[in-house]
Every structure is written in C-alpha cells, then in structure tokens.
C-alpha cells in the first residue's frame, strides 16, 4: 500500500503541497497531470530521494516518511532510464537484483536479455527503458514507482511491455504507482487514478470516477471532457425524481432532481450539488445523435444542427449547435456515415440525466 497523508516536499523552487491519496496493496495507481505538475517530484518523495517536509508516507503499513530510500523496499524507474553508463547492460540489470537468476528471468520477460552484449551508450531510448524496467523489477520490490516508463517505446513494443508490467504486478502482488500522460494507458492500467496539478492532488479515486465525475471544470477540461458548460443550478425535488426510473438504483438514495440552465439549454440531472452557479460536464461519448427524436429513456433531448464534423480514424466528433450552445458528440465513423451526417443536418442530441456531472 502507498498511503500519502498531507505529504509535502520541496525540490529546488518546486513545492509538493499536502498530497493525500492511497493506493491499496496490490493495486495499480496512475498519476496524471500536466507537465510541471510535480508528478516526478511525487515519485521521488515517495522513493525518499527528495525528503518530505511535512505529512506522512506509509508503505505497506510502515511509516516510511523519514526512512532511507534503500530501506523502503521499492524501485524507481525514470523516464530517461538513467542506466549506469560505466556498467554493462547485464551489470545494470543485476545492480540491485535479488539474485542473478532473478535478474536473468526478468531480463528475458522484458526482452532485455537480447541487449546484454551491447554497451549502454549504444542503446536507443526505448531499449534503455526496457533495461531500466528489468533493473527495477529484478530487485523484486514490494512497491514500484514508474515515471513514464514506456514513453520511448514504439506502439507495438509498448503494448507488449505494458502487458508484462501488469502481469508482474499481478503475479508478485506489487503495489505500483505509474506516472503517465496517456489517458488510455491510465484507463487500461489503473485501479486508482491521482490527478496532480501545481504540486497538489486535485482528485483521486477509481479512474472511471475521476474521468466521469471530475471535481472541477479545470480537471474536466484537462481530462479531455468535450462539453464543460457554465450555468445555474435549481433543485426540482428533494427526493429521487420520477424520471429516474431505469437509472442505476444507488443514485436514488439521498440525491435530488436538479435543473441546470446554460444559455438557452435546460439540462436535467441528479446529484447533491449546492444551489447557485456551477459547471455541467458531459463526455462526448455519452451523447447520442439521431435524425428523429429517439424513443429511449434519455431525459435530455435537444434538436440542433450539425456545425462541424471531424473524423479521427474509427471515431467521428460531431459538433451540434443547439440554440447557440455547441454540444460535442463522439460516435463511430460508421454510425456517422449511416446517419449521412454533414454540416447543416438537423439532428437530435440526447443523453441521460446520469451523463450530466455537475462540479
């Protein structure tokens, strides 16, 4: 388990400020955040190479706030690998290995065994990352800290290595914390996502929860939410609304029916958001487009005109102008072709009350 409670640190002029999150034992945590948000400093503070100035850090239940890095039972992989250039590839992998057999076995799993005859200086960036991963796992740590460890790998190798890391994580029951810029990677690997910005953990939880229910419009936009609308909140009823029929059951407990007004649009949702101004976040893939009003149970339905189409391989992003408010929907390119969508087509954009997240 990695448990940070109000963890603060200082690295040069950068400050990590009161970071709190938990990655339970055996789970895979991902840290996401813009460049310069403190992701590497966070890993270095957990590793102990940057001293914590406040707060506590517990690793597998043990208070490690002031423990020396070598006694924390973890491994750290930097994006730039930092292989020791004065040692051979084999000696790099064996550097802190639990045993030589362990080093060889892990090298084979990452495909780094084929590189042992080459000098470190002759390795490419991707090959260095493979050796750095092998070196870190050969130590057989309880906690693994990975700082963009696949960034220099080609897409095919990246998929293979990602799977191998995940397999080792599962087989050995490791607790892993992985810094990435890649939201797909975060979604594929993570059991817990931590969103970091300017040295602060803005939100943490299950990746699904962080991506679908961002805590602020800033987080929503950082995570690529296409529809972030400012507006005002009004409570319609203090208990679960009648139009919640068919929605997931837990939502009905203690939640209120809410009307959210943004420009000429009135959206309906449920939640416990306070009255006043706020933001509604709707992910593009939650919005369904149809030529005629759909027969389904979606509470929010708006007639609009297609204003823009952008095809990105198998997916097409469609911007619909609804009374001056742009709504972005994401649908398969095949669906877009079947609907014969083009700029100026009249469509209905519909989405469920549960697809609207207020923050």
């Amino acid at each position: 388990m990695i448990e940070c409670q109000g963890l603060s640190a200082r690295h040069g002029t950068f400050r990590l400020a009161e970071v709190t999150f938990t990655v339970p034992t055996g789970q895979y945590g991902v840290v996401i955040g813009p460049a310069g948000s403190g992701k590497t400093t966070l890993l270095e503070t957990i590793a102990g190479v940057v001293p914590a100035t406040a707060g506590t850090l517990r690793l597998n239940g043990r208070d490690c706030t002031a423990t020396e890095p070598e006694a924390r039972g973890l491994s750290l992989v930097y994006q730039h690998a930092f292989l020791f250039p004065h040692l051979s590839v084999a000696h790099n992998i064996a550097y802190g290995a639990a045993s030589s057999e362990q080093a060889e076995a892990v090298a084979r799993r990452f495909g780094a065994d084929a590189l042992t005859g080459r000098p470190v200086r002759a390795l490419s960036g991707g090959e260095r990352q493979l050796v750095a991963l092998a070196r870190a796992f050969a130590r057989r740590p309880a906690v693994v800290l990975l700082d963009e460890p696949f960034s220099a790998l080609d897409p095919r190798r990246r998929t293979i290595v990602r799977r191998e890391v995940r397999n080792l994580h599962r087989e050995w029951g490791l607790t892993t914390l992985h810094v990435t810029h890649d939201f797909t990677e975060a979604g594929l690997l993570g059991d817990v996502a931590v969103l970091l910005d300017e040295g602060r953990a803005l939100q943490w939880g299950a990746p699904e929860e962080v991506f679908r229910r961002p805590a602020s419009p800033y987080i929503a936009e950082f995570l690529g939410a296409e529809n972030v609308l400012a507006g005002t909140v009004r409570v319609l009823a203090e208990e679960a609304p009648d139009w919640l029929e068919g929605e997931p059951a837990p939502i009905a407990h203690g939640y209120r029916a809410i009307e959210f007004t943004t420009g000429a649009l009135v959206l309906y949702t449920v939640g416990d958001y306070p009255l006043g101004t706020g933001y509604a976040v709707i992910r593009a893939e939650e919005i369904v487009l149809s030529l005629e009003p759909p027969a389904g149970s979606a509470r929010n339905r708006f007639r609009g005109v297609v204003a823009e189409l952008a095809t990105l391989g198998a997916l097409t992003r469609v911007t619909v102008d609804v009374a001056g408010v742009p709504l972005v929907a994401s649908l398969t390119t095949r669906s877009a072709k079947e609907l014969a969508l083009k700029v100026g087509t009249d469509v209905t954009a519909s989405f469920k009350a549960m697809a609207v997240h207020l923050c």
Partner: protein, 272 residues
C-alpha cells in the same frame, strides 16, 4: 532597394570578426607558449644532461615530486568530500564556504606563505603545539607540503566540484532505490562517473604544487624544492645556471598535463 536581396545578411562582417578573433587568439597562444617553448628549447637538453651530474638538482626534483604528491594526496582526501558537498547540497553558508576555498587562489603567494607562517610558526599556538609533539613544520618538507596544499588544493576542489556537478543526481537516486547506502552509491556510481574529472583535477593540483615558489620560499627555503633551487641559482650564479633547472622544472609540470590531455583525447575518441 539595392541589388542585394532583402533579408539576406551580408557575410562580410562575419568574416572580419572571424579574422580578428583568429588573430587575437593566435597572439595570445603565442604569448603563452613562446616563453615556455623558449625556456625548454634553451635549457631542456642541458637540464636533462645535468640530471646525471648535479646531485642537488636531483635531490630538489625528488623533493618537489614527493612533496607535491603528498600535498595532492592530502588535497584529494580532504577536498573530495568538500567538493561533493558543494556540488550536491544546498545549505546556508555555501557561498561563504566557496569564497573561503577560492581565497588562496586570489592572494599573492608570498602573502599565503606569511599567513601559513603565522599559523604554523613556533610562536603560534598550533605551531608550538606541533613542535612540542615533535612535529616541526617550518623549515622542513612538511612546510613545503603545507604551502603546496594551501595554494593548490582549491584547484582540485574547484575541478572536482565541477566533475560531481556533471553527474546527474538521479543516477545516485536510482542506486539508492536499488539498495545502496549513500556511501556505496557514491563509490559505485558517482565516483566512476566523475573519475575523469577527478583525475584531471588531481593532475592540475599536482602540477600547480610542483611549480609553487612564493609560499614555499617563506615557509621552507631549505631543503630546496626545484623552484627555490632555480631562484637560488639565478640570484647566486645568473641566468645560465638557473636555466637548466627551470627548464627541467617546466618539463616536470608539463609532462603529466600533456599525458592527461593526450589520454583524455584518446578516451573521447574511443567513446564516440
């Protein structure tokens, strides 16, 4: 608009600047190399010949090499931790410590000798204590080592600090997370990675110690190191007698430096 295309800067001023820079550099290079070249050319062969016949010269050279080596060993032992501290750690007073370590480079060397005499002379607390412990510094080879250490150690510290600063601290961070203590990470990672810079700094310190005169002449005139012998012969017998000693001394300082540069060049070539 004239005939030249707009936006295409003339290369003429660049050529003039390049020629001026080349001329200035050549004059400086000549100024630095010519005296040494002339010295070795005029007295080198005679100096080497006298090594077989002049016992005092041999003794002076042996004393110079021995004391310079002793000063360098002491400088490396004490200077390495200091250099590492200055390269790696942020602490209050770091700038003051750096300035103190640079001080011996900035003061005239006879002044350095006088300062050392005040500290280590028999009338000083430390000098008196050392004498009562049977350790006389002034007027002995120990005084020579002290003078050499004082004037040359800052060169080693400065070079070693630069060598350590060039090693990214994240190499040490990785080593620490792989189970190394700070000392073990230093010995297994930092030291090998900064090796070339440390060796170069030691050689520079040694060469500087070999060529020291001002501080030594105040602290220990006798027994004579090569620089003092050269001065002694110059004042006693004139240029003709001083020249071979001076030329051999110049060679003694130049040989390790030249060897170092040659080895480093070969090493760089191999690395590429």
């Amino acid at each position: 608009m004239n005939g030249r295309a707009s936006g295409a800067p003339s290369r003429e001023p660049q050529r003039i600047i390049a020629v001026l820079a080349a001329v200035a550099s050549s004059i400086l290079l000549l100024f630095l190399a010519a005296p040494i070249g002339q010295l070795i050319g005029a007295g080198g062969a005679e100096g080497i010949r006298r090594l077989g016949t002049d016992a005092e010269l041999r003794q002076a050279l042996a004393l110079t090499a021995t004391t310079a080596t002793a000063a360098t060993v002491l400088g490396v032992l004490g200077g390495t931790p200091l250099a590492y501290l200055l390269a790696r750690r942020e602490f209050r007073g770091r700038a003051v410590l750096s300035a103190v370590l640079d001080l011996p480079l900035l003061i005239p060397h006879p002044v350095a000798g006088i300062a050392l005499l005040l500290l280590l002379g028999r009338d000083s607390v430390l000098g008196g204590t050392l004498i009562s412990a049977g350790l006389r510094v002034v007027g002995t080879p120990l005084g020579i080592v002290a003078a050499m250490l004082f004037v040359a150690a800052p060169l080693f510290i400065s070079g070693a600090r630069e060598a350590f600063a060039k090693v990214d601290p994240r190499y040490e961070a990785v080593a620490r997370t792989l189970g190394d203590s700070p000392l073990r990470a230093f010995l297994r990672v930092t030291l090998p990675l900064s090796r070339r810079g440390l060796i170069a700094s030691s050689v520079v310190m040694w060469a500087r110690a070999v060529s020291e005169f001002g501080a030594i002449v105040v602290l220990t005139y006798n027994p004579k190191v090569a620089s003092v012998l050269s001065y002694d012969r110059f004042t006693g017998f004139g240029l003709e007698e001083a020249l071979p000693v001076a030329a051999v001394l110049a060679l003694l300082a130049l040989i390790p430096l030249t060897a170092l540069r040659t080895l480093r060049g070969a090493d760089d070539g191999a690395a590429r």
